[in-house]
């Protein structure tokens, strides 16, 4: 790897109960992973509006991960099912706006899955790095 490696900026929307706790666990157990994902905490992945994702790309993100509790484990009983149902719609809209499929990813991470969180961050970073930057000019036509 050369010094000019592209370092993607990725926004991570994490639900407070499972995924954020899982990310904390990764920290407590000193797992090492790529610094590219910056976390925005929401109470439930169900709170993540498509406009948030658009906003992220508009503001210069190269990728977005949405992490929630495993289906059935949602602190709010079924919030993450809502997320799941809304997700394909989001993907479609993004596709229309020319955002590659691989730039957005929805995953379940429980409070005990620190390793999994670290793994997902690394995978996603690599994945987006391969895609290259999400150019501003394309960013423009993404309006939140």
């Amino acid at each position: 790897m050369t010094t000019t490696t592209f370092e993607p900026k990725i926004v991570g929307f994490l639900c407070n109960w499972c995924s954020y706790t899982g990310a904390d666990l990764a920290g407590i157990s000193r797992k090492k992973f790529a610094p590219n994902v910056r976390v925005v905490r929401v109470m439930c992945s169900g709170r993540v509006e498509p406009s948030f994702v658009m906003k992220a790309f508009e503001s210069g993100a190269d990728g977005v991960v949405i992490l929630g509790c495993h289906p059935g484990d949602c602190h709010y009983a079924e919030g993450n099912y809502k997320t799941l149902r809304r997700y394909p719609l989001l993907k479609k809209t993004l596709a229309q706006l020319g955002v590659e499929d691989e730039r957005v990813r929805l995953e379940w991470v429980s409070a005990s899955e620190g390793d999994r969180f670290a793994a997902i961050v690394n995978e996603m970073t690599e994945q987006v790095r391969r895609l290259g930057p999400f150019h501003q000019n394309r960013g423009k036509n993404v309006k939140a």
Binding site: V11, V39, C44, F52, S110
Partner: protein
Amino acid sequence: MEERRIGVYVCHCGSNIADTVDCAQVAEYAKDLPNVVVSRDYKYMCSEPGQNLIKDDIKQNKLNRVVVASCSPRMHEPTFRRALQDAGLNQYFFEMANIREHCSWVHTDRAAATQKAKALVSAAVRRVYHHEPLEAREVPVNPNVLVMGGGVAGIQAAIEVADSGNLVYLVEKEPSIGGHMAMFDKTFPTLDCAACILTPKMTIAGQHPNIKLLSYSEVEDVSGYIGNFKVRIKKKARFIDEDKCTGCGRCQEICPTKVASEFEQGLGQRKAVYKPFPQAVPNKVVIDAVNCRHLKGRAQGKDICRICQKGIPNKSIAGCETGAINFDQKDEILEVDVGNIIVATGFQQFDPSVIYQYGYGHLPNVVTGLQFERISNASGPTNGEILLASGKKPEAVAILHCVGSRDANYHKYCSRVCCMYSLKYSHLLREKLPDADVYQLYIDMRCAGSGYEEFYERLQEEGVNFIRGRAGEITDTAESPEEKDKLIVLVEDTLVRRKRRLPVDMVILSCALKPRADTEKMARTFGLSRKADGFFLEKHPKLDPVATVTDGVFIVGCCQGPKDIPDTVAQASAAAARALALISKGKVEIEAATATIDEEHCAGCKVCIELCPFKAISYDETKKVSRVNEAVCKGCGVCVAACPSGAIKGKHFTDEQIMSEIEGVLV
């Protein structure tokens, strides 16, 4: 709109953050962020001097918004919110940037980590700009407590809460409380008999005026929140009128159906109508519908047996004299309200038959730890005589440690108690069979506990053969005359680097303690998370070991991880104290971050009503708008995200707050 005056505080957390993040640089950077009037870095922000920094700045520099960049908000958000309150600022004018768990602890490149820390700080600053004052709501705490599980942990917790004058619902799925401890013979290292110390507690729990004992029952559903849970409990049909049954035991004498006894670990038998063991609490029998001839007959519309009820007239044997037997009994559903829940569901013994090479299930006289407890127990199937299946006394016995524990193929964790109970078995063997050779095969002796190492030493004196090595297999294929009709244990004695073949008559497998099969179901019912090893996850492994991610729900004993009786009882008392603290306070503060609907913009489409998991939104027919009941709303924000007309606002997670945070992380 009032001018925003933001203070930023970057914590070193000793070296935890400062080692990987250049805190001074981050603080310097924050100075130039919009509306920031003070920006400092300090060694320990959570310390008193640290908090005073904030308080003084609020007074002197007229701060009206505060950002602390340090650990996870799950750790210290309450601490700093309190600091703001003390300085007369609304606690919600605070935002935290997690630059420890999410940054310094997980990255190695100092430059990159510092860069990320800056981004997280800028996000917090942009977000806090839009924070609004909120009032934390207080709700009364229901003083009743639910204890799930009637083992030693549940019994201890229930008694302590009940003694304080509060009502406890003690729910046990088996016909009697007592759990695993009731099966044990002696307890290490003191060797006092388990029954002698447990049964008195069982009786107290059974007779306590403040304990409502619900045996043979299951919790089906839990709703509500800390201080105000609603619990639905299923009381399984016992086919016995508990008020009439005296536990005399006549019915189980005359019942013609014999089945293997769960309590005796399959070594003894019980009847279809039975009490699991003589000291059972409640002292009532139960009819096992799966095996009862009459109940099975009923399924096919036949009316047979009923011997327990009618006796055998022609042999002038009387049936139940109190008329307690009621074949028509149905499952009952109870709804109870409680303010706290203590989960004490315990563990399950690892089934060693999956380790085929150890022979359990196909070689005779290979037994599990619990089976040996029963064999050695005076009230067990052999009245405490240690005998082989053949009825003969064993001349040599091997005890294998770490069966299913410390094993990548099964459970990676150490079960913590096996070394000690194996020592206990050795002692019982040396005591009851002084002429028998006892081999204890260990990988490491783990005897951490008061009097434990001393107990190990005592067993060395008692002449146990300790072999440092893990058995590879147990075979009955003899290779020499002295191996004939023996179980041969293959092991490397790693201290002399010799592969040895030990001919023995009995092998005891010290099996792992594993999470119960129903752990996942329980986790869902009670809103708990699980650790990688499958046990329930505590709120903080060190500082909050009995609380959980769900406020008001506590975990104690082996459902949280393998542990011995002293630790289990200590946790039980701890959880009881936590519950009582809340009860004596009488009220609990709950998140103010709920949803509200702006009636001006609400189109009355009712989408939110469909989506709300808590039925917190109702429809106002007259005004044709939806309305949120904030007492029920938990602030998940699902409705906020879904509202087509943007009329719903998620307090403390408003669109503009989140949007500006997104901008922030991407600088």
